[in-house]
Subunit: 345 residues, 4 copies
C-alpha cells in the first residue's frame, strides 16, 4: 500500500496543477467571450472548437488516448460558454404587456372549427380574464388523410373573433410558405413540437419576426433534450427576434407503451430549464397528458414548479371537438385553474 | 358517394350489434369474477385467456386476419378485469398508524455510515415530527467495486438508533438470502427499483411478510410501465401480504442523454396510478431528480398531485456522504417541505 | 368450478358471434375501400373514424366502459385499412434506372466543402461503380452557431461535379423556401430525419415533385414509429409523387446515455418495414452508428436483412472533414462493402 | 479579431500543458493499477475517486465551477481504467468444450411443459448437432396470475431429457433460494433480463458458481446500458467465476409503442460490446423480435455482426406452446440457421 500511497500523492499534485490551468484558461476564454460580444460575433464557434480538439489530438498522437483529450476538452469548452443562454428576453407592448404578466394564460380550442364555436369559447375565456386565444388553422396530423384544419378560412375566423373580443391570436404555422402568406393573422406565432428540429423553418421564422419582434411560442420537440430545445430557440433569436417563449408539452418515453397519458409530462423540466435560461417557460398540460381528467392538477403542478404560464386546450363542447376532444377541458374546469391562480398570485 | 353511404349504414348496424355483444359478454365475465372471488380463485388466468384467443384464431383460420381477433380479444379481456387493482390495502398497527397518516414521511441518509451519523440525522428528523427513518445497509451499486454498504453492522446501527429515537426502520434487502437472515432489523421492508422485476425475490418477500404483514415499500423499476409496477405489487400481495406501498422514483428516458437530472421525475404518474389502484403511493424526489437543488419543489409538486407521502434522502452533511451526497438535502431544506405540509394538510 | 365453466361456455358462444360480425364488417369495409379507390377518394378518413367511435360511445353511455368501445373499434379500424401501404412505387428513368437496381448505392461526404474535395471523392466513387453522389449544402446543425453549409455555392459545386462525373446529385433541402429556389440542383431530394414530422414542408415537397416525379429520399425521424414514418411518406405520395424511398438511420433510445454509437441502429426495422410497405428501404449506417469503425459491418448487416440499398458518408480525408468526420469512411473501407455486394448480388 | 487571436494563442499553450499533465498522470495511474493487480486489490475504487473529486472541489471553491472540476476528473478517471474489462474468460471442460466452439448454439422451448414435449424437441436439436438445451422451469412472468412454470418437476424433466440425449441443460433461476435448492439441475445457469440489476442475487450466483466455475449466461437488462451490463457481469466474476457469457436480447424503446416487435433488437450492440470485453457474446433473436417470422434473419444478422453464438426458442409445435409460442420457431426454421452456419463457419 505504501507504493500506492506514494503514487497517489503524485497524482494529487498533478490534479491540483491541472485545475490551476483550468482556472487560468477560463480567464482567457471569458475575455474572448467579452471581446466577441462587444464585436457582435457569435460566441459559439463549433468549427474553432473542433479545430482545437483535432489539432491537439494530432499533436499528441501515440502519447495518450485521443478520446481522453476529446473528452476533457469537451468538458472544458462546455463550461467555458455555459452562462450563455442567460439572455434577457423582452416583449413588445403590442400585446398590452400580456406576456410580461405572471402567469401567462393562453387558452382556446385545438382546432378552429367555425365562427360560432370560436366565438362561444372566446366569450367564456374573456369573462375569465384570458386575453390570449389559441386555435389552429393548420393542423399537423400524423396521417395525411386526417382533417388538416380550415386553413385560410380558419385564420380569418380567428382574426375576426380575436378582434371582436379584444383578444390576441396565438396560432401555428407549419412551414415557410404559410409563414409568408399568412403572417399577419397571428399575434403570437406558434411553432409546434414536430417542427422544433426544422432548422430551415426556424431561421425563416426568426428572419420574418425580426422586423416586428412578434413573439414566438416554441414548443419542445417530444424527443428533444433541453439543450437541443434551447438551441432551437437560439436559431430564432440569432436572426434578430429575442421574443421567444418556450413551451413544454410532454415527451415520448417507454411509458406510452402502456399508459393512458399521450406523453410523459415533463413537469420537472421546468426546474432544470429555469436554471439554464431566462426565457419565459410555459407548460401545455393538454398535450402533455392527452386526457382532460389529468389537465387541471397537472396545470397547477406546473405553476407550483415555477412555470411562467400555461397554454390549455379548452372547448365548450369537448365531445364534439373535431380534434383533441379527449384532452380539451370545459370552461368550468378552466375556472379551477383560475381559482388557483387568484388564490396564489 | 351513395354506395359508400349505404355501406356505411350497414357497418353502423354491425357496430351496434357488436357492442351489444360486448355488454352481454361483460355481464358474464363479471359473474365469473364474482364466482372466482367467492371461491378465492385468482381472477387473472392468462392461460385461459391464451386458450380463448388461440382457439378462436384456429377456428376462424383463413376467414379473418388472426391479428384482428387477437387485438380485439385482448382489449375485451383487459377491460373485463380492469377494476381489479382496486383492492383495499390496510396497515397493521405495529407502526403506530404512521402509514395511515397523510402524508407519510420517510427520511434519512442513503447509506448508514456510522452510529454518530445516523443518530445526528435521526435527532433532527424526530424534532421535525418524522418517525420513519430510512437508511441503507446493503447498497445496490452499479459497480461491484463501489462501496456496498456496512451490511450487518449497518443494520445493527439502524435498529439501535431507531429504537433510541422512538422511530421505525425503513431499509432495503437485495435478495432472498438477506431477507431470511436479517428480516427482524426492518420495520418497513424496502424493495429497490432494480429488483422490481425480480419475481422470484418478490414471491419470497410476499411469503415471508405474509406471516406478520410487515409493510413493504416497493419502488417502481426505472423502466417499468405502471401496469408492470402494479403486477409486481400483486406478486407480493398474492402471497398474503396486502401491505404494499408503491414508491415512484423517476424513470429512464432519452432526457438522461443530456440532463442534470439523474432520472425523469414521473410526477404525473401519480395521477394515473391513483386511478388504477387504492394502494398508497409515495414519491422519492431524491432519486427522481438526483440533485438536492431540485428536491424540495419536486417533493411539494408530488404532494400537490396527490401523492400519499414522500421518502427523502436527508443528511446533516451531504458533501461528506459516502453515497448520493449530491441528491441529499440538509435538515433545513427538509423543514421547507414540512412547512408546506403544515400549511396545507 | 361448474358455475364458472357454464359461464365460460356462454362467453365462448358470444366470442364466436362477435367474430362472425367482424368478418361481416370486413366485407363491407373492403367494399368501401374499393369504392373509394375507384373514385380516387382517400382511404383513410380519420374524421369518419372518430365519428364512428364517438357516436357509439355516446349511444352506449352508462352501459359499457367507453374506453372498451374505443379500444375495440380502433383495432377493427386499424385492420380494415392495414393493406393500405402496399402501394407499388415506381421510378422515372431520369436516373438511368439507378433506383431500380439492387442494391441502390449512394455515397459521398456529409458536407460539400469545396470543388476539389467533392471531385476527389466523386472520382473514387465513380471508379467503384457508384453513380449516386450525396453531399449537403444546407446542414441541419443542432446549434445555430455551427457551420451551416456552403448553401447555394455548395449546390453549384455539387451540380457541376455530378455532371462532370456522370453522376446524380442527392442533396437535402431544409424548408419550403429552399425547395422553391434551388429545386433543380437536386436529382434526388433528401428530406432529413429532423423534418420527417414537418408536415407542412412534406406537402410542399409532394406538390413540387408531383410535376416531374423527382425521387424523394425520406429519412426516418429519430423518434418516429414505423407507422408515423409511413404516414409521412404518404404525405408526399398523396400530393402526387409515388417515388419515395424510405431511409432508416438509427433511433434515439436510452442507449445514448452511455454509448459510443450516436444512435441505436434500427437494423431490425428493415424486417418490419418490409412487411408494411413496398416502398424501397435503404439504410444509413453512418448516422445510425456515428462512428466509422462500425459502418462497414452495419452496412453489410443491413443488406443481409433485406435493405434495398445504402447511403454511406464517404470522405477521402475523414479527419479533415468539416462535419461528421468521425462517422465518414474512406474509399478503401467502402470497397469492402462493394466487395460484399459483388460476391452476393 | 486581433485581440481574440492573441487570447486564443494563450489558450492553445495552456491546452498543450494540460495534456502534458494528462500524460504524466496516466503513467502514475497505470503504475497504481499494476501495483493493485500484483497485490490482488480491486482496481476500481469509487470511494477514492469520490475523495479525489470532492477534495479538489472543496479546495478550489469559489475559484472555478465545481461542475467543471468534476466533469474533467470523471473523464480522466474513466480513461485511467478503461482497459479494465478486457479480462480473458475461460470455460471448463465440463461441457465438452461446447462453449469454446464458434458459434455457440443453444436451443429449446421457452417453458418445459412435459417430458414428451422436451424429448421431442431435444431429439430434433440433437439431430441438428445442437448439444445445449434450453428450457425454463421457473418463468418470470409479468403477471403473478400467469403460469409460473413446472418448477422442480420441470427441472427433473430437463435433467433427465438432457442426459438421455447426451445434451447439457441451460436453465434459469430467479432468486438466491432457488439457486441453493436446485443448483445441480443446471449445466449452464441462466440469469434473466429482469434480474440483471439484482446485485444481491448476482453476488450469490458468483459465490455459488465460484466453486465449480459453472458457466453463467447473463442476459442484458432490457433497459441497461452496455456499461451497466458489463458491471453486472463483473459482480459475478468478482466472486470468483470468470465463466460469464453475455446475452443480448433486445431493449425497450419508444418503438414498442407501435410495433410488431416485442423489443428493439440490439444487433449493433454486438459491435460495441466486442470492443469493450473479451467475454463471449451471444444473441437471443427470439426475445429481441418476439415474433417467429423475424427470428431467422435476425439470427443470421447477429452472427454476421460477430456474435459468438445464439440462443433460440424452438418448439415442435409453437402454436401449442404454453408460453412464447409466437416467438418460437419450428425445427425446419432452425435448420435454415444451421445451414447458414455450415456454409459460413
Amino acid at each position: 500500500m505504501n507504493e500506492i500511497n506514494n503514487l497517489r500523492r503524485e497524482i494529487n499534485k498533478i490534479d491540483k496543477e491541472l485545475i490551476d490551468f483550468l482556472i487560468k484558461r477560463k480567464t482567457f476564454s471569458d475575455r474572448i467571450i467579452s471581446a466577441k460580444k462587444s464585436q457582435a460575433i457569435s460566441v459559439y464557434d463549433k468549427k474553432r472548437e473542433l479545430e482545437i480538439i483535432t489539432s491537439l489530438k494530432n499533436e499528441f498522437i501515440g502519447k495518450i488516448n485521443p478520446a481522453l483529450i476529446e473528452g476533457v476538452l469537451r468538458e472544458i469548452l462546455f463550461y467555458s460558454k455555459s452562462e450563455y443562454y442567460k439572455l434577457n428576453n423582452y416583449y413588445s407592448n403590442d400585446l398590452n404587456g400580456l406576456l410580461d404578466k405572471s402567469p401567462i394564460l393562453i387558452a382556446g380550442p385545438c382546432t378552429i372549427e367555425s365562427e360560432e364555436q370560436l366565438s362561444g369559447i372566446a366569450a367564456h375565456l374573456f369573462n375569465n380574464g384570458i386575453r390570449l386565444l389559441r386555435g389552429g388553422a393548420f393542423k399537423p396530423r400524423t396521417s395525411p388523410f386526417s382533417f388538416q384544419g380550415l386553413e385560410e378560412e380558419g385564420l380569418k375566423i380567428m382574426k375576426s373573433v380575436a378582434e371582436k373580443n379584444n383578444m390576441f391570436a396565438v396560432t401555428e404555422f407549419l412551414d415557410s410558405r404559410q409563414l409568408e402568406t399568412y403572417y399577419d393573422y397571428a399575434d403570437v406565432l406558434q411553432i409546434g413540437s414536430r417542427n422544433m428540429f426544422s432548422y430551415g423553418f426556424l431561421k425563416q421564422v426568426g428572419k420574418k419576426t425580426a422586423v416586428d419582434k412578434k413573439p414566438v411560442l416554441l414548443k419542445r420537440g417530444f424527443n428533444a433534450t433541453l439543450n437541443e430545445f434551447l438551441l432551437s430557440a437560439q436559431y430564432i433569436i440569432n436572426e434578430g427576434n429575442p421574443n421567444v417563449i418556450l413551451c413544454l408539452r410532454g415527451i415520448r418515453t417507454f411509458e406510452q407503451i402502456d399508459s393512458q397519458m399521450r406523453n410523459t409530462p415533463d413537469l420537472a423540466s421546468i426546474l432544470e430549464l429555469k436554471e439554464l435560461t431566462d426565457l419565459k417557460i410555459i407548460f401545455d398540460p393538454s398535450h402533455a397528458c392527452g386526457d382532460a381528467k389529468f389537465v387541471v392538477p397537472t396545470a397547477v403542478a406546473a405553476l407550483g414548479l415555477g412555470a411562467d404560464g400555461l397554454i390549455i386546450e379548452t372547448h365548450t363542447n369537448p365531445q364534439d371537438a373535431v380534434t383533441d376532444g379527449k384532452q380539451s377541458i370545459e370552461p368550468a374546469e378552466l375556472e379551477r385553474v383560475i381559482d388557483y391562480i387568484n388564490r396564489n398570485y
